[in-house]
């Protein structure tokens, strides 16, 4: 079989967004089947993570209170495999692939609960930069990200839903930035902070004078959050105000859409691990997995995870298509796809993790079993970038199902 999708021109027959406000928009036709390239990428990332970061090791890092990202793993990911720059065009020495491939990586990172700043840097910050107008500083930063030299963080509170960002940092006349941003994901590992303000998007070196970051005790042990405070910090302005707000909107939509891939990976690990456990764990002289109630619940989880995968893949495919047609990632169907992805995939990951803990019985409730890392990730991810009910609210507007 050949990978036809990568070479065919974009389908010219995609229906346009419906203009009749009385009906939902007609979704574009996208290919939901994994390409060969994607399958190979998945295998390579999985292999690498199995070697370098099995869940037991992630857990051991947490037990030693070492909550920083795994720098060795990040080196391998970002520098050696070039995965941090997958979505960055080749003209910036990026991978020139797209959000579909990033989605594959995120699924595997979720499945391995890998403690790396991929979502923060390679998705949120990268999406914001890609949406910002070209310019020397922005282009250079993209090059550094693609090379794995820089790690960036978009300084918005991690629970911010798309379309809900409000500035908390102001730039004075001398372009000095002052303000505070709570709960920024992956900021502790960042070399560059992308700071959106009312006056546009700024790049600030993490080590700049006036920048302080306080690690907070995150509910998700494997994705640290940071409270940032800027006090007359020197920043470099990358965009004007409208472009800055648009970049943040695109980044949040892209992040919400792709977080679903990570959620699918989390859910898949929980399902696989639970199935393995109940196949071998015996009670009452039988494998626990031979009890019908357990079977039916795991069948439900499997159905949900299968569907979540289709939804997450759809979201990534829509982003990829929007990107390739220059239509802008935050417009039209991408907004629908992101809201759909978080509305559906976030609760699926939580349910899979909850069933994982419950069906492991006592051992699932202990610190020594890695299940809790996935529960904490799943539950945090359900809050991150907007909870499911906020996304359903966004969907209501996007598909014309108005509130009461």
């Amino acid at each position: 079989m050949t990978d036809s999708r990568a070479t065919d021109p974009p389908a010219a027959t995609d229906p346009p967004a419906a203009t009749d406000p009385a009906t939902a928009t007609a979704p574009p036709a996208v290919d939901l089947v994994e390409t060969e390239t994607e399958t190979q990428l998945r295998a390579a990332v999985r292999e690498m993570l199995t070697q370098l970061s099995p869940p037991e090791q992630v857990l051991a890092r947490c037990e030693s209170a070492d909550l920083d990202p795994d720098r060795r793993l990040w080196q391998t990911l970002a520098r050696e495999m070039g995965l941090a720059g997958l979505a960055i065009p080749e003209r910036y020495e990026g991978g020139g692939a797209g959000w579909r491939e990033v989605s594959v990586v995120l699924t595997e990172l979720g499945r391995a609960i890998a403690p790396v700043p991929y979502l923060g840097s390679a998705v949120l910050a990268t999406a914001a930069l890609l949406a910002a107008p070209p310019g020397p500083a922005r282009d250079e930063l993209l090059r550094s990200l693609a090379a794995g030299d820089a790690v960036a963080a978009l300084t918005v509170p991690f629970a911010t839903p798309p379309g809900r960002w409000a500035p908390t940092v102001v730039a004075d006349e001398d372009q000095l930035l002052t303000g505070a941003v709570v709960g920024v994901a992956d900021a502790g590992a960042a070399t560059t902070l992308l700071v959106p303000t009312e006056s546009g998007l700024y790049a600030v070196p993490a080590t700049a004078a006036g920048v302080t970051g306080n690690s907070v005790t995150s509910f998700d042990l494997t994705r640290p959050l940071c409270d940032l405070r800027l006090s007359q910090a020197v920043g470099q302005r990358l965009t004007d105000p409208p472009a800055g707000a648009a970049a943040v909107a695109t980044a949040l939509t892209t992040g919400a859409a792709l977080l679903a891939a990570e959620q699918v990976g989390v859910a898949q690990w929980c399902l696989d691990t639970t199935v393995d456990y109940v196949r071998t764990r015996h009670q009452f002289g039988r494998p626990v997995g031979s009890f019908q109630a357990v079977k039916h619940r795991l069948a439900d989880v499997w159905v949900a995870v299968s569907q979540a995968r289709a939804v997450a893949d759809y979201a990534a495919a829509v982003l990829a298509q929007a990107e390739s047609t220059e239509a802008g990632g935050a417009a039209g169907e991408a907004v629908v796809a992101a809201a759909l992805a978080q509305s559906f995939c976030a609760p699926v990951a939580v349910a899979a993790a909850e069933e994982c803990v419950q069906l492991h019985g006592g051992i699932g409730f202990t610190w020594e079993h890695p299940a809790h890392l996935f529960l904490k990730r799943a539950k945090s991810a359900a809050v991150a970038l907007g909870s499911a009910d906020r996304h359903r609210g966004a969907l209501a507007s996007a598909v014309n199902l108005p509130a009461a």
Binding site: M1, A22, T23, A24, T25, A26, P27, D31, L32, V33, V275, V278, R279, R286, P287, G289, S290, F291, Q292, V294, K295, H296, L298, A299, D300, W302, V303, S306, Q307, A308, A310, V311, D313, Y314, L340, S343, F344, D389, R392, G393, L395, A396, V399, N400, L401, P402, A403, A404
Partner: protein
Amino acid sequence: MATDPPAVTAADVQQRVAAFLAAHDPVTTPRADFLAARFDAGLAWVHYPAGLGGLAAPRHLQPAVDAAFTAAGAPDNQPRRIGIGLGMAAPTILAHGTDAQRRRFLRPLWTGEEVWCQLFSEPGAGSDLAAVATRAVPDGDGWLVTGQKVWTSIAHQARWGILLARTDPTVPKHSGLSYFICDLTAPGVEVRPLRQLTGEAEFNEVFLTEVRIPDEQRLGEVGQGWQVARTTLMNERVSIGGGAQPREGGAIGLLAQTWRQRPELRTSGAHDALLRLWVRAEAARLTSQRLRQALAAGQPGPEGSAVKLSFAQLNQEISSLELELLGDDGLRYDDWTMRRPDQVDFLGRNPGYRYLRAKGNSIEGGTSEILKNVIAERVLGLPAEPRVDTDRAWKDLPR
């Protein structure tokens, strides 16, 4: 999926269709003649063997053939009316029938001249189909069959039924079954309508009283009925799932339209419930879409078993919300009259009908409980439950 060499290509097939249409005017040729000729030309089901309506071509070439005939305005064989014949009887006859049986039955089956029904389920054998109690007793060069079958769609219009009956009650239940082709017009066959909670009688009960079946109408060996029936059931599962749906296709679209058109019904609780269902319906739709794309790419996935499960659940919950949303209108029904519909008009009637009819979606064609067992065991590889019914003679099982 291997085909006999020389492989038939899409171009070959399209050429044959063109030639056939040139030779048989789709508008003027009498319907029965047209369909018989199409069968004889191997354009009925191209993946069937030559001489039996096919060209031994790859199965995926069929949709284009059907499309070409439809485009030409040709009469079709009313596939929904003869769905059981096409979807279940035909592949079983092809797989297990003798040459004589294939030649006798497949042509009129495909043309719709002879309608088929399925005589499997019984009052005491629903999910546990291998427990059928209908007895077939040897009688000269044939069999005398006595028993009761239920949930037989279209039996009142059918000429033939595929029948599972017990030929040996002294062996374990899966081993004592044989598979027959039953003539519904034979003496001793009585078809009675079976009314559902919707008021309609879509189905029938079929009472068999010493119905004589010649041994030539046995499909497969005596005692091999379960193996033959598995072919039938596997094809039933394949045929469920249906075609591509647009967004808001199906029941969710009706609910969404009601929501848009009648703002006075809206509450904030119902809004969230609507959105949750909309999201789930779209997730199920995308899953089906991916499944179809994967099948087209030759990568069948196990998601098919989830499609029916989700479909049933969504139909039930969507119609439930719709009925509640409607308030006083939801308290009304359209018609309780006992009727015998040719087809289920799921989307055309009122939400109350949909609410009731959807209750059948999780029972008919394999209950949701059985589907979950199948997913757990075949997809996830979970161990079977301890069986108490496989080692004992059927006659000694508790009932």
